[in-house]
């Protein structure tokens, strides 16, 4: 079941991506790839460039140099809407949910299903799609899709945020610190969701500070340090100590599998 590295063509391939903020070089020459049905963990210390890299991919801050290929095709992702069209979905750390809206309205915000001929909202269609989406993620603890998101638990909110990423049938899902604010049981729930995304054949990039989560869910680990790649590991073949050493700069390992 565990996808083995990038298959024929990777879902996402970055080559020589660099981002400069004024005089600060936040990313320099990063190469990265994610295959179909692969979970890539992106780790690194604060300021290593993780967020910048995610912003480059999701269109919030296009890179100054380098190329992005999606399914082998070179693309320009210069705004979030374009990213969505290309099949890149992002689950932000703050989840970006509207607390006063119910689950259905949150899932379809900005992509509402409308009915001909007048363009009225098709509440029934969106609702049944919502059950399907939550069902496909096995997010079974949500009792009603008309419940306000404010009334859901942290894990349930995370499920809604991830389910929302799936509304547009994405090829690639970016998750920014999805377990940072959760308890043990809820974390397990979310990691389960991530595995389910992988089983759907979606490429997943997950940012996390939690080494246990990274080891539990990822197929490969991409370490960033000071804006540069400082090692790419196959999760099954490394120890936490190896990864931490790469994060802190105690060791530098040659890239493997990132097409360096």
């Amino acid at each position: 079941m565990t996808a083995s590295g990038p298959s024929a063509t990777p879902v996402l391939e970055l080559r020589g991506v660099s981002v400069t903020y004024g005089a600060v070089r936040a990313l320099s020459g990063v190469n990265l790839s994610v295959g179909r049905g692969e979970v890539l963990a992106l780790v690194g210390d604060n300021g290593a460039g993780k967020s910048t890299l995610v912003k480059s991919i999701c269109g919030a801050r296009p890179p100054d140099e380098g190329t992005i290929r999606l399914g082998g095709e070179a693309v320009v992702v210069d705004n979030p809407r374009r990213a969505a069209e290309l099949g890149i979905a992002t689950v932000f750390q703050d989840l970006a949910l509207c607390d006063d809206l119910d689950v259905v309205d949150n899932l379809f915000l900005g992509r509402e299903v409308r009915r001909k001929p007048w363009g009225n909202l098709d509440h029934a269609a969106m609702e049944s799609r919502s059950w399907d989406l939550l069902g496909s993620l096995n997010a079974t603890t949500i009792k009603s899709v008309r419940a306000k998101v404010a009334r859901l638990s942290g894990g349930q909110r995370q499920s809604v945020a991830i389910a929302r990423a799936l509304v547009g049938d994405p090829r690639l899902v970016l998750l920014d610190e999805p377990t940072a604010a959760l308890g043990v049981a809820q974390t397990a729930e979310v990691l389960d969701l991530v595995r389910r995304l992988r089983d759907h054949g979606i490429g997943v990039i997950i940012i996390s500070h939690n080494m246990a989560d990274v080891m539990a869910v990822s197929d490969r680990i991409h370490v960033l340090r000071l804006g540069r790649t400082n090692g790419v590991f196959t999760t099954a073949q490394v120890t936490v100590d190896d990864v931490v050493a790469a994060i802190t700069g105690a060791s530098v390992r040659a890239e493997e599998g990132a097409g360096a």
Partner: protein
Amino acid sequence: MTASVSDEPPAVRPWSRLLALPSSGDHGFRTVLIGIVGLWALLYALNPRFLTVGNLSNLLLQIAAVAVLSMGAVIVLVLGEIDLSMGSVSGLCAAVMAVVNTKMGIPAPLAVVAAILCGLAIGVVHGVVVTRFGVPSFVVTLGGLLTWQGVQLAVLGEQGNLNITDTFIVSLTSTYVPTWLGWTVTLLASAYLLTPVAIRRLRRGRPSRERTSWPKLLLTRVPVVALVLAGGALLVNHRGIPLVVLIVLAVAALMSYVLTHRRVGRHLYAIGSNAEAARRSGVRVDRIKVAAFACTSGLAALGGILAASRLFAVNQSSGQGSLLLLAIAGAVIGGVSLFGGVGTVWQALLGSLLIGSIANGMDLLSMPSSYRFTVTGAVLVLAVVIDAMARRRAARRG
């Protein structure tokens, strides 16, 4: 399609169901309804004339203008913004209508349209200043309050008073619709409330085991329909349903449709709930905000027209005084949140009805207006306290 729903029983505890504790979202509606019933009972006990059809019909005429402003307030409040200029805008637009009609001799219907367009344009100005320059709407519309009041004085000119004699404008608030039309509207409204379309909304989104059965749902609708039928019948048999009541209800129905069944309505709530999230989801936040301010000012204009029609005149104090505050208070008492994301048009209507009942009842008891303001103020604070308590309870449970 619901196969994956878990088999656990719902987490709601039975006692909280029995007590029907208000939960965030619909608590405002229920609370204000109970408030109205209680207030009417009290006023009836103090003076039985309060509950005569004649007086209630009169009450509806009295609250029409404020109710329209209240509904306008809902739009900006849902966004999490505020419009303090609604009173001034209503006065200015009424003045524009009067001048265009009486001084320029343009037919009244066109003058009404001109006044509403004037309101929409003012709202666009507010919206553009708020979105382009990032000025809080409180400040922009506070400035608007003074500015448009000044323009109103200028438009009215030297004598500062324009009498309205045009039958079209006057008839807006002094006509009762014919019996056949009254019955048609009453029956259509009742029929709609009983249709599967309207009722299905109550069942939506729940897994099948949690759904209330159809007969039970129909039963909960029966009291509402009975109220509509009884109210309609009494009014029709008295002097007919006032035209202005139908105008207000038509505006409410249109707004409610847009807010619940159009994309822009969902986006309005989304922006009020979490503007940044809405922006990231591709919602055109600025454009919708400008449109919202325009609609609010447009409704303020309509309210001003109705007020002028009832007063047979526009003068320097049109739109001034407590009008703005009562409009916002009506929405808030009805359960519209000042923090955005929550509120419906119907809540604003009920809130206006409650405030109007206080004023009407105290006039019947020939109490001085000092009491009226005090009581209205107390009710406003009480409503918000109840709202805050319900929210806190909901947050603790959630």
